[in-house]
Structures are given as structure tokens and as C-alpha cells.
Amino acid sequence: MNELPQQLVNGLLLGSMYGLVAIGYTMVYGIVQLINFAHGEIFMTGAFGALTVYLYILPNGTSMWIALPLMLIGAALVSTTIAVGAERFAYRPLRNAPRLAPLITAIGLSLALQQAVWAWYPHAKSALTFPEIPGGPFHIGDVTIQTGDIFLLVVAPISMGVLAYFVMKTRTGRGMQATAQDPDTAKLMGINTDRIIVVAFALGAIFAAIGGVAYGLKYGQIDFRMGFILGLKAFTAAVLGGIGNIYGAMIGGLVLGVAETLATAYIADIPGMDQFGSQSWADVWAFVLLILVLLFRPQGLLGERVADRA
């Protein structure tokens, strides 16, 4: 049986999740040149927000079809509140400080959020089970798709489309583009850049929340550390696609997901590469790919500017 279609689907699913989270990194970077390392934790709190709605707000045994939209709203609310709060109280006071100060703040915030969930969320000291969408897997030819993955397959492209429309066509979206290009001139043209920055954080958080719910549905469990590694991967995806470019984030995510999956599936079959082929080596190959892309295209796959500030 041909394994390739299934492995490609596996990779695209994983990549879609990276892409959803990468959007937040890339939008915030594009506008304020801040690498928001707490974004992985925004993703994590989104998943916990959704779980909270399911466990503590909805009555027991609510159908997933009713629960899911409410869980998404809960996730988005929690993520957005935390992201906007972080912007207002942690990053804004440091807007004109040296670049390292907000970066270190972001790392500190990431640890603080992890530990806060660990300490105060009930039973969060080990993994928590996440509700699942009922219904068996679907088979299309050789490819099996889980019910939990359908959500990701449907929601990721739709939300990407909505985001593209928002950024290109609406007033606020054009304001974002202008602020990204030149914040000072944008201000002179009457754009409230503070508001634009808040919108960027909020949008990133909503995408992270969708990603968090997708993660819970896909793997059936969430834990307080889920955002750490996934956040790093999503950041990598954003750099791979060209940081600052929202299409780049999605493409970068997909490329990274597919690369990891194919490395796990096929590297071991290359003669002499047996010991480098297992999943424990997949990250190594993903980063080899990142280095190669950055060697030949330092601005990333779709990036327009060279990232001159870090």
C-alpha cells in the first residue's frame, strides 16, 4: 500500500496547526518587531479556556456540535484577554526600551503563564483529557482522516481567508499594513498605532486559540507545557515563511509540518541513513531545511524585507 498520501495528509495537518500559531508571531513581529515568545502560552491558555467552557460552564453531556462554537468563543476570549493584557501591561511600557528588554519580558511572561496554569488550574499538573468530536474516521482512498482533524481541515483555510480579506480590504487592515511599513508616518497620517498594535495582538491570539482547540481535538489531551515546543515550531515556521508575512506563516507552517512527517517516514529508507531516520531526528531535518532556506533566501520563503532588527 502506498504510504505517501497518508503521510502528506499527516504533515499538512500538523503544518496547519503550526501555521495557525505562526500567524500570531508574524503579525506581532511585522508591526512592532517583537518576537512574542509568550505566544506559545497564549495558544496553551486558549486550549484551557475551551476546556473550561466544556467542563465548568456547559451542562454535562452537551453535544459537541453545540459545545464546539462556544468552546471556540471561550478559547478566543481567554487568549485575547491574556494577549491584550500582556501588550498593555508588559510590552507597551517597554515600547521604546532597547530591543532585548521586551524579548526577555516575553520569555518571562511565557514561564509565568505556564506556571500559573500549572499551579492554579484544577488537575493541570498532569495532562487533561479534551472532549472529542464523535464519529469514526473517514477514508478517502488510502487516506484515513480522523474526526478531530476535520475541524483543522475546515477551520484553518477559512480563517486564513478571512484574515487575508481583513488585512487587505478593511480600514483597520490597511492601517496595519501602514503601521508595519512605517509606524511614525502612519501616525502622522492619522492612524492610531496603539490601537493597531492591540488589534495585531488580539488577532494573533484568536488564531492561537483556534490552534489550541484544534490541538485538543486532534490529540484528545492538553497540558500546561503544550505551548512551549509548539510555540518554538510555530516561530520556526514564521521565520521559514518570511517573518512579517501572514501568507508566509501559513506556508512556512505547512512546509515545516510536511518536512517533519516525511523525514520520519522516509529518511530511514535511504541506504546508510537508518539511524538518522526516526522521529527523534525529524526536528533535526526540519532545522536543516530551515538553515538551507535561510542560506539561499535570508528573508524566508515569502518574505519581502530582510529581518534587519531582532
Partner: protein, 409 residues
């Protein structure tokens, strides 16, 4: 996580400072005299108390605590009060080593129970051995810890202060292989491990015996324990045509792995060692985990006559967490330390000698008593003489013992 390791580093520095202070106060005797004229002996516990493996770790801590309390209540050692001090190693070798340094620095500590992970034990052994502080693990199963890295060809005990009450993977892996091949009648296995000391070692001993019996290994894979996405691996398992999967590793990965393998369409059981024998595995593997198997050390605690009292006492003590896979072994490990201290104290006219640590370590070799898990004593390598193992199967959302025995080669 980084923040906690900062705390750990601070703790290690503090421990270092304590060691220096200790140098200046040699006139103190081995144990501190409490006001009532008795001596307090601290038994250290090192286990993962937070994080993924905390279910097992907290069971170890509570069981050790129960043993110490029981000894105090029954006045097992006259004039000595036992106190348990538990440190969290987060299943990280670096944290374990820092904890070991901390225990060594505390002169009241005469024995340490733990750790859970073989990889953590590796980092602690030398620290304890240099201080002649005895360490009894209820859970480490990697053979190299007691029999040296070349244990397959020439056994040599690396550290005289290290003992364990659990049996080793040199027995557990082959025992599982025999069950899978002879009883479950599975001939094609896909072997997966997490590349850690415990998981890789167990997978290797399983594979050797399975091949010897005539089975085929249709694929091998090493997973990355930091991720939860095993879809690529699951697809490989499905296409390999394996009729059973053996996983060397622990339940935080084994649960999702089992679930994703079944979701990918391979309806084959996942078999693992004591590292997956936890109620959390069943929770994480979900409904499709029925029929998965695990081997674990010893006979099932619930069914042993010797364990009835332990189970009842544990319940009465009101611990929040279950005693899990290693509860009985942790109780016995702690009790072994208590027995060794007792012998040392009795041989020294009811007082702790100045070189109490070295004497306790020496006395441990001769300890022998009827514990929760059966007869507890140690062979020349520090391994338990009790080599019982049990196969458990997931049935209706619970582990059910299906076969007890041992591997006889």
C-alpha cells in the same frame, strides 16, 4: 520549566554552601538530638512530584511517608524517629543530581528512596556513592545500574551504595517477549522506544528475546518524547503489517501513541513495561486502548496477602494520590532503610555511630524481611532477589492482572 531549574540551581548552590558549613561543625554527631532525647533520622525521597510522571512519583512519596510513619508508630527502632523529606526531580537527570547533592549535604539523611527514572538514577549514583549514602530505588529497571554497562557479557557492580527492590529489564523485556509470542500468539512486532535509558534498554531486551523465540521485527522507530504528534509513526506501523507494537518508554507518550496507532487503522495492541503501567495510561489512550498490555514488577499488590495491611493503611492515611505501580516497592525500599538503620543502632548500643551512613550502606546488603511485595533482600549486585513480574491488560478502563511469573531463560 527554566524558572524551576533556576530554583534548583539556587538550591544546589545553597546545598553547596551547606556542605561548606558542615565542614566547620564536625563535632556534631550523625543525627540531630531532638528535645525529647531521641534522634531524628531523615529518609530522603527523590521522584518526579510534578510534570508528566507525577502520578507515579507522588505514589512513591506517599508510600515512603507511610512506611516512616508506621515505623514511628510501632517504635521499630528505639529512640529513633524517622522523617521523610521529598524532593522533586521532574524526571530530569540534572535535577536528580542536584537533589542528590542536597541530600548528601544534610547530615540527618541516612538513606534515600528513589528515583523513578533510570536516567535520573545514573546521574545520582556517583554523588551518593562518594558520600557512602545508601540509595534504594523502588522503580529503576535498567540492568546497567547494578550490573555495569557490559552486563550482558561481564557483570560488575559499579556502585556499592545503590540497591533496588524492583527487578530489572534483563528479566522484564524477555518476560514480555515470551508472553507476547507464546500466550498472545503475536509473531510480527513493531518496536518503538523513546531513546531514554529505560525505554531503549527495555526495547532492546524485548527485541533480543522476541527474535530468539522466532518472531519477526517488522519495523523500529524512536519517538521524540517532547511531541504529542505520532501520526507519521502510526502510519508506518499500520503499513508495516505488524500484529503487535512494543513500546519502551513511559505513559505520557505511550497513551497518545496507542491512541494514534489505533486511529491510523492498525488495530493491534500496544505492549509496554512498568513505565506505562499507570491509570493515566488508560486515560490518555482513551477508549481504543482496550487490550493494550503492560508488564510490571512484582505480583499485583491488591492480591498479595502481605500487602493487605499496606493497602488498608494507605487508604486510612488519606493520601490524595493513588500508590500507583511502585507503592508497595517504595514502602519496602523505605522499610529496608529502616531495617538497616535498626541493625546499625542495635549494634552500637542503641545509638547512631559517627559513620552512620557507611554502616547503613553496609548493613543494607544483609537486610532481609517480609515486605509488602514478598521477601525483600538483595543479591551481590544490589538487585532484588524477588524477580516476580506480572502482565496486565487494559479491560473496561482498568488494568487487570492476567499472568504472573518470571523469566528463567
Amino acid at each position: 520549566m527554566r524558572q524551576r531549574s533556576l530554583i534548583a540551581i539556587t538550591a544546589a548552590l545553597a546545598a553547596g554552601a551547606l556542605t561548606l558549613t558542615a565542614c566547620g561543625s564536625r563535632d556534631e554527631d550523625g543525627g540531630s538530638d531532638s528535645g525529647s532525647g531521641g534522634t531524628t533520622v531523615t529518609i530522603g525521597v527523590d521522584a518526579p512530584l510534578t510534570g508528566d510522571l507525577s502520578a507515579l512519583g507522588l505514589g512513591i512519596k506517599n508510600s515512603a511517608d507511610l512506611a516512616a510513619k508506621t515505623a514511628n508508630k510501632e517504635k521499630v527502632v528505639d529512640g529513633v524517629t524517622f522523617k521523610v523529606e521529598a524532593l522533586d526531580d521532574q524526571a530530569q537527570p540534572s535535577s536528580g543530581q542536584q537533589n542528590a547533592t542536597k541530600f548528601v549535604a544534610d547530615k540527618n539523611v541516612l538513606g534515600v528512596v528513589g528515583p523513578l527514572n533510570s536516567s535520573v538514577a545514573e546521574s545520582m549514583q556517583k554523588v551518593f556513592d562518594d558520600a557512602k549514602l545508601v540509595e534504594v530505588s523502588p522503580a529503576n529497571t535498567n540492568p546497567a545500574l547494578t550490573q555495569g554497562t557490559d552486563w550482558q557479557t561481564s557483570k560488575a557492580r559499579p556502585y556499592k551504595s545503590y540497591f533496588r527492590t524492583s527487578t530489572t529489564d534483563a528479566i522484564q523485556g524477555p518476560f514480555a517477549a515470551q508472553y507476547v509470542y507464546n500466550d498472545s500468539k503475536k509473531k510480527k512486532v513493531f518496536v518503538i522506544d523513546d531513546k531514554k535509558t529505560y525505554g531503549a534498554g527495555l526495547a532492546a531486551t524485548f527485541t533480543d528475546e522476541f527474535k530468539k523465540l522466532g518472531g519477526t521485527v517488522v519495523g523500529t522507530e524512536h519517538i521524540n518524547p517532547d511531541t504529542k504528534d505520532f501520526s507519521a509513526v502510526a502510519t508506518k506501523v499500520k503499513n508495516s503489517g505488524a500484529d503487535v507494537v512494543y513500546y519502551g518508554g513511559e505513559y505520557p507518550q505511550a497513551g497518545p501513541l496507542s491512541k494514534q496507532i489505533k486511529a491510523a487503522g492498525a488495530k493491534v495492541p500496544l505492549v509496554g513495561g512498568d513505565g506505562i503501567y499507570s491509570a493515566d495510561f488508560i486515560k490518555l489512550a482513551g477508549a481504543s486502548g482496550g487490550g493494550d498490555l503492560a508488564t510490571s514488577v512484582g505480583a499485583p499488590v491488591e492480591e498479595l496477602a502481605s500487602a493487605k495491611e499496606f493497602v488498608a493503611n494507605y487508604k486510612n492515611a488519606g493520601y490524595k494520590e493513588a500508590y500507583e505501580a511502585y507503592g508497595g516497592y517504595s514502602y519496602d525500599s523505605t522499610w529496608a532503610i529502616i531495617e538497616a538503620v535498626k541493625k546499625v543502632v542495635e549494634d552500637n548500643d542503641g545509638k547512631l555511630p559517627d559513620d552512620a551512613r557507611a554502616q547503613v550502606a553496609a548493613a543494607m546488603q544483609g537486610v532481609s524481611f517480609d515486605g509488602v511485595t514478598g521477601k525483600v533482600s538483595f543479591d551481590e549486585y544490589g538487585d532484588a532477589t524477588n524477580k516476580q513480574l506480572t502482565v496486565y491488560a487494559v479491560e473496561n478502563g482498568d488494568w487487570k492482572a492476567v499472568k504472573s511469573g518470571t523469566y528463567t531463560g
